[in-house]
Amino acid sequence: MRALLRRGVLVLLIFLGPVGTANAEGFVINRAELVLSDKVYHLNATLDFDFSNDVLDAINNGVPLVLELVIEIMEPRRYWWDDEIASLEQRYQLQYHALSEQYLVRNLNSGAQYTYFSLSAALQRIGSISSLPVIDEQLLKDKETEKYYARIRTSLSFDNLPLPLKIDAWTSRSWWLGSEWIELSL
């Protein structure tokens, strides 16, 4: 019966949503800039991933985690939400390999895979983004008016979590580690 009660509270929490994401733990975008070179905008950024204990438990027990970096090019509009012109999503899968006692990082966009001896090394590697091509300048038609801006955000993807964890993730504050949106000028 207690379990039932807890489920009830849990169901309620689903509707209330995360109470807040601004914790001590969480992802922070330390530095980010868009650089135009060869008529293509490139992103240079440093992301700082600070996992909570629950998430650390999960990764150390072999649960694969997916970290996302979302880059959106926006056009501001009056009296309405800003229009999303283009978006880019970088996804990295992080997994512990028990046999070799190493951490595997796989870039899900390119398929490239790397191994690291420590979690911090793996996270540092994921968090160092340099010269990531974002968008061709040609695609921004009204560049002259300089209306466009970009925004980036990094977060832990819940979609790829194993199902039993998913509900915990949706309802637990310690899984909501995503950063704030950071706006960048073009």
């Binding site: 649960v63 690291y116 509900i167």
Partner: protein
């Protein structure tokens, strides 16, 4: 065919929402349970399903709440059917909740224990051991490869950078390496040879490996390379003659033998999955518990809602019946009750409707017959009211039930006052009615089927003769249903019969006696004329006296015969307007002489109407009355005869009343009702026909006459003549105008 469609329609009308909602929830629960077991197919759908089911729960809770509040409110207000509904709901809910709760409790237990049973300490230890075994087996191979790589590195010492690639190629194929790369310790690639000819960028050791090479001169370890499978990578320091100051590193990747690789992968993946499963044990339990709880709640709440729904449906005919009963109690039989179902309750409602219809028809019938009875009664009352005979009905206990107005008129009392009271009460209303009541009582008590008897009722103005006829009313049972008594005032009839008899006597007398009288008189006169002068004086005196007596008596007889013939005569009236005042004065003049000490007084009211009358007959009437009065006052001093005339209204008829009053000794009580009959005079003198003639004249004029004694002494004869119709109409008009 139509019955089938009707049935379908009824089901879809009533149960469709319930069925649809139930089906939808069961579907989503099935999906949810599938999603809980296999995350791959459903992924994000799982959360959506949880939310949908939770929303469904909220909707259900809302529906039940609304129903519950309505039920409570109805229960408090004592709405018809609410108690039964509440009881049914409680029963249904208990029937639904109890088994489901038991199943839920045991399912939860099985779930917890089932999931726990997947995990065994020994299995866990075996997993660890397998991993360790894999590692040690691979370590052996790693050490071999490290040795082999060192040998390769040694062979590179004297190679120039320009030709080192060829050597690398040879070494790679000889040593069965996947990739061989020579690089500086800062990570700069000098030369690289790969089995994968499409690979352009060689894989490089990371900083950790390089630093280890710097300190230990070598590194060897496992490298999970994703699609390429597990590989062994080895990095050793290489001394170079060409660049002695620079530390170089030979970085080699070796594939593991297929069989070995497969086994290692299998151990790794099994270990990883087991570890993950152990970690996910609690979340998994929670997840299953959540699904199970949702299933339970949805079924339970659906069952509760269905309980409300079906209870209300079941009670609906009862409520309809109650409404119908109240309507019938309030006297409304026309209320139509809807038949909501075709089961026993529905047929009960149908029967109730039929019953009220029949009651309504019976009531209408009763009302019609009541009206019929009322009409009959009114008809009977009208008939009785118009009857000139008095009618009284009595019940078995001689209590008066019905009396018509003629009864009151004849008896001179208000009989209707006595309705519902014993017959004897009438005695109290008038002492004259004692004989009447006694005759009635006596005859009624004897329980004769029919009887009739004449009763004389004493009155101020003489006896009234009533002919009473009685009969028992028909009754169903042995007890007497009552009696009816009909009586008529036959006084006038009796009087008329007596008068007719007298008239006949008078006529015969006049006829039989008058004829011989003239010869007798003539004979006596002839005897006198022939023998008086010839006879001796003493004989002559006898003859003279005798013939004189004969002639005188014959004369007297003639007078009498004349009077008789007058009485018997039925002359034709010559009606003309009568001036009563003039006539009275004219008649009185004959009686006023100085010798007589009788005084007359006349008072005539100013509003005396004209009457149509035969002047000659009225004059005779006045003569007879005055003679009668003078006779009765003869011998007394200070005789006073007063005559008064006035207008009265008797029995709604305008009348002229003439009163002749004397101050004589009055009329003896015994004579009172016979005073107007011939030869009933108290007087010593006179023909005895005076008042009889008066009565006849009055009746010829449709009037009435009676005698009464005055309190202060003396008699009074009252004559009433009806005013002529024209006159009466005029005066009536005046009265109305005055009003």
């Amino acid at each position: 065919m139509s019955e089938v469609t009707l049935l379908l329609k009824r089901i879809s009308d009533s149960f469709f929402p319930v069925l649809a909602m139930g089906f939808f929830l069961v579907l989503s629960l099935t999906l949810l349970s599938t999603a809980t077991q296999s995350s791959v197919q459903f992924g994000r759908l799982h959360l959506v399903l949880v939310v949908i089911n939770a929303l469904g729960l909220i909707v259900l809770v809302g529906l039940i709440g609304v129903n519950f509040i309505r039920l409570i409110r109805n229960y408090r207000r004592n709405v018809v059917g609410s108690r039964l509904t509440a009881r049914l709901v409680i029963i249904f809910v208990i029937l639904a909740v109890a088994p489901v709760s038991v199943v839920y409790y045991f399912s939860l237990g099985f779930l917890q224990r089932g999931i726990d049973s997947w995990f065994d300490v020994r299995v866990e230890a075996a997993m660890e051991d397998a991993l360790e075994l894999s590692r040690s087996s691979l370590d052996l191979r790693i050490r071999e490869l490290l040795k082999q790589t060192r040998v390769m590195a040694d062979s590179l010492i004297y190679k120039a950078d320009a030709t080192v690639l060829l050597t690398l190629n040879d070494l790679r194929s000889e040593g069965n390496a996947y990739e061989l790369t020579l690089l500086t310790d800062s990570g700069h690639v000098i030369a690289s040879s790969s089995a994968d000819t499409t690979a352009i960028i060689p894989s490089k050791p990371d900083e950790v490996i390089l630093s280890q090479v710097r300190t230990n001169n070598s590194y060897a370890g496992l490298a999970p390379m994703g699609d390429l499978g597990l590989q062994i990578r080895v990095a050793v320091a290489v001394d170079s003659v060409e660049a002695p100051a620079q530390q170089r590193v030979l970085y080699a990747l070796y594939p593991i033998a297929d069989r070995m690789s497969q086994l290692a992968d299998s151990v790794q993946s099994a270990y990883g999955q087991h570890k993950e499963l152990i970690y996910l044990r609690e979340p998994l339990k929670n997840s299953f518990t959540l699904t199970l709880s949702l299933v339970l709640l949805v079924s339970l709440l659906t069952a509760i809602w269905a309980a409300f729904f079906s209870a209300q449906r079941l009670v609906a005919p009862v409520r309809v019946l109650a409404v119908g009963t109240r309507a019938v109690a309030a006297g409304n039989y026309d209320k139509k009750l809807p038949v909501t179902s075709n089961d026993e309750l529905g047929s009960l409602v149908q029967s109730f409707s039929d019953m009220t219809t029949k009651i309504s028809m019976a009531r209408d019938e009763a009302e019609r017959s009541k009206e019929q009875v009322e009409r009959e009664r009114a008809y009977l009352r009208a008939v009785l009211g118009r009857l000139s005979s008095g009618v009284i009905t009595l019940d078995g206990d001689l209590q008066i039930r019905v009396a018509n107005s003629a009864a009151s008129q004849i008896l001179g009392i208000d009989v209707e006052r006595a309705i519902g009271r014993p017959l004897n009460v009438i005695k109290g209303y008038s002492k004259h009615l004692r004989d009447f009541v006694e005759v009635l009582s006596r005859n009624l008590v004897m329980d004769q089927q029919e009887w009739h008897e004449e009763v004389a009722v004493a009155r101020k103005r003489g006896n009234k003769i009533l002919m009473c006829r009685g009969a028992m009313l028909p009754s169903d049972e042995d007890t007497s249903a009552g009696y009816v008594v009909v009586f008529d005032d036959v006084t006038n009839l009796v009087q008329a019969q007596r008068e007719a008899a007298w008239g006949e006597v008078a006529r015969r007398l006049a006829h039989e006696i008058r004829n011989p009288l003239t010869p007798i008189q003539l004979s006596a006169e002839r005897l006198r004329r022939k023998y008086l002068t010839r006879m001796k004086p003493e004989d002559a005196e006898v003859l003279d006296r005798s013939t004189h007596t004969i002639v005188q008596q014959v004369e007297s007889l003639k007078e009498m015969v004349k009077a008789f013939s007058e009485y018997a005569r039925v002359p034709k009236l010559q009606l003309q307007p009568l001036d009563i005042e003039m006539l009275i004065n004219e008649v009185l003049d004959l009686y006023r002489d100085d010798e007589s000490d009788i005084k007359f007084s006349v008072s005539i009211n100013a509003d005396v109407p004209d009457v149509e009358a035969d002047v000659g007959r009225i004059r005779q009437l006045l003569h007879n009355l005055l003679k009668n009065a003078i006779e009765s006052t003869r011998g007394s001093k200070d005789s006073l005869i007063s005559i008064s005339v006035e207008r009265i209204v008797d029995a709604k008829q305008d009348m002229l009343e003439l009163r002749v009053v004397d101050n004589g000794p009055g009329i003896p009580e015994s004579m009172m009702d016979k005073i107007f009959e011939p030869y009933t005079s108290t007087k010593t003198k006179g023909g005895g026909l005076g008042l009889a003639v008066v009565k006849r004249i009055v009746e010829e004029h449709s009037g009435s006459v009676f005698a009464e004694n005055r309190h202060e002494g003396g008699a009074c004869i009252v004559v009433r003549l009806p005013v002529s119709t024209q006159e009466a109409a005029d005066s009536q008009g005046n009265i109305i105008a005055q009003a």
